[in-house]
């Protein structure tokens, strides 16, 4: 699969600062994958995204978009990408539909606004001023805004932050459908639930450097606790005991426990992405 983005030794320093915010990071985003870019606040996630969407220039290193040098691509780049900002980006005194029609009018390839707004449950509120929208409605409108040009690559920043579980699920389903149709997604988030459900590959960014780039499954295998926890009844009490996952079938104590006690629960010690996030970012921060 071709790389949508090839980032090589990328560094960036804000004009007013003495040190680099991004310190020589290298990674690839493959076409058709959902790439999660994770890290604590101030790690350089947003700056990396700003560089990739050409909001910031004057970087060192290379950013290639489908093998083309990003610096040499003009404003036509924005015909191909969609950006969903975390912050509201709409005119408050205009209605949701007026906002969408305005931004859509600049694109050659226009998506069906009605269809998008219906999918995220905003069509019935199309004539309401954006200033009267709730936070969740503004987040959903941001997503519609990002999809207005039927983009090839979607950049999403904390896309489900502030959404109730039902609407978060709708957006995640739309992202998954976008991917299924061949779209590439660069997802910046701190919501590990989104990462587990959506991402094919994740990268952890801390203090402007990348520390892990892998699939969520590989990360879980690497950082997961390889053990089984058993809750069982003994003398009218419920007790807990941990066993090594390796060679569990040959573990006599485990076998005896299974045979001689009534079990309450049995769990493999699966590590969540949240645990991994804390482990990776925490470890690095305290180095």
């Amino acid at each position: 699969m071709q790389n949508a983005f090839t980032i090589e030794d990328l560094s960036y320093r804000y004009p007013s600062k003495d040190t680099d915010v991004i310190k020589g990071i290298t990674f690839n985003v493959k076409q058709g994958e959902i790439f999660g870019f994770l890290g604590p606040s101030g790690a350089g996630k947003s700056t990396t995204q700003k560089l990739m969407i050409k909001l910031l220039n004057d970087y060192r290193g290379n950013i290639k978009y489908f093998d083309r040098d990003l610096k040499k691509i003009n404003e036509s780049y924005y015909e191909e990408i969609g950006v969903g900002f975390e912050m509201p980006v709409h005119f408050g005194k205009l209605t949701g539909l007026e906002n969408m029609k305005y931004f859509s009018s600049f694109y050659k390839n226009k998506a069906d606004i009605k269809n998008l707004m219906e999918k995220v449950g905003l069509w019935e509120f199309r004539d309401v001023l954006v200033s009267q929208y709730s936070k969740g409605m503004k987040v959903r409108l941001n997503f519609v805004r990002a999809m207005l040009n039927n983009p090839r690559v979607l950049f999403l920043d904390e896309v489900t932050n502030g959404l109730d579980p039902k609407n978060a699920m709708i957006i995640k389903k739309m992202i998954y459908e976008f991917k299924k149709d061949g779209g590439t997604v660069f997802l910046t988030t701190h919501l590990m639930n989104d990462v587990e459900q959506l991402c094919d590959q994740v990268a952890f960014c801390v203090d402007g450097k990348l520390y892990e780039i892998a699939t969520p499954r590989d990360l879980k295998l690497k950082y997961g606790k390889k053990e089984v926890t058993v809750e069982y009844h003994e003398n009218n009490n419920i007790l807990t005991r941990d066993f090594e996952l390796n060679d569990l079938g040959f573990n006599d104590d485990f076998q005896t426990l299974l045979k001689s006690n009534r079990l309450e629960t049995i769990h493999s010690g699966e590590t969540t992405m949240e645990d991994i996030f804390i482990k990776v970012t925490g470890e690095v921060i305290h180095e």
């Binding site: 804000y14 004009p15 007013s16 700003k50 969407i53 909001l55 910031l56 220039n57 003009n74 404003e75 036509s76 780049y77 924005y78 015909e79 990408i81 969609g82 950006v83 900002f85 912050m87 509201p88 980006v89 709409h90 005119f91 408050g92 005194k93 205009l94 305005y102 931004f103 009018s105 600049f106 694109y107 050659k108 805004r145």
Partner: protein, 239 residues
């Protein structure tokens, strides 16, 4: 419709929705009421000050404030994500700023003619208005780009007015002697006020007019090329 026209249409639509155009119209209506209450000579002498207020002063304030409003609403980031050139965004901002000046000029010119029968070279006035609005829009945007926040912008605008606008108004009211006028040519406000005066009183073009036009064009293009264009995106994104 090309991108500039679309951007301009959006800017004007928003100036109505955000009540900027209605308030500007209301100000012009106040000028008309004043014209109704005074003589033709008084109207001719005070009209340049009204024009100066709408063309120069309002341009600098409105463009700076609307920039901060767009920044606060985050809409400027959304505009940056459109397949349009930065030049087109900036040109649309300049033209929309002039649109409000034109609206005021038209109302003042028409009311001066209808109420007092005063007329003058409208094309020359239009040219002077374009030059003055361009310079003051450029200054308003530059101040907004360097301001850290809205309060800091207000501080910069206040300082600008204290240094450049107040002496101009004092000069118009004869509170500053004509002997000091040569120093006032450093002030773009004075240049704009002088051009409005010359247009309405139909005075022949002299070195003062040429200097005022050249100086303001120099400010407008200089700021556009060396401050606004290179800094607009970076300073806006930086927050």
């Amino acid at each position: 419709m090309n991108n500039i026209a679309k951007l301009l249409k959006g800017e004007i639509q928003r100036s109505i929705k955000y009540k900027i155009l209605p308030i500007s119209l209301l100000t012009s209506v106040i000028w008309v009421i004043i014209f109704l209450l005074i003589s033709a000579d008084e109207a001719k002498s005070i009209a340049p000050l009204f024009l100066f207020t709408d063309v120069a002063l309002m341009s600098i304030i409105l463009v700076g404030s609307s920039y901060y409003l767009e920044k606060q609403e985050g809409t400027i980031n959304s505009v940056f994500m459109l397949p349009i050139k930065l030049n087109e965004i900036l040109i649309a901002k300049f033209i929309s700023s002039m649109f409000l000046a034109f609206e005021s000029v038209i109302i003042i010119a028409v009311s001066l003619y209808l109420i007092h029968g005063v007329y003058f070279n409208y094309f020359l006035l239009l040219f002077y208005v374009i030059v003055s609005a361009m310079a003051h829009t450029a200054m308003g945007l530059s101040l907004a780009l360097y301001a850290k926040d809205f309060n800091s912008l207000l501080g910069l605008l206040f300082t600008f007015m204290l240094i450049f606008t107040l002496p101009t108004i004092f000069y118009s009211l004869s509170l500053i002697s004509e002997n000091f006028e040569v120093f006032l040519f450093l002030s773009p406000s004075h240049c704009a006020n002088l051009l409005m005066n010359y247009a309405i009183s139909s005075k022949p073009i002299d070195w003062k007019v040429v200097l005022s036009v050249v100086y303001q064009l120099f400010i407008a293009f200089g700021l556009f090329k060396y401050v606004i264009y290179p800094k607009f995106k970076t300073n806006t994104v930086r927050g």
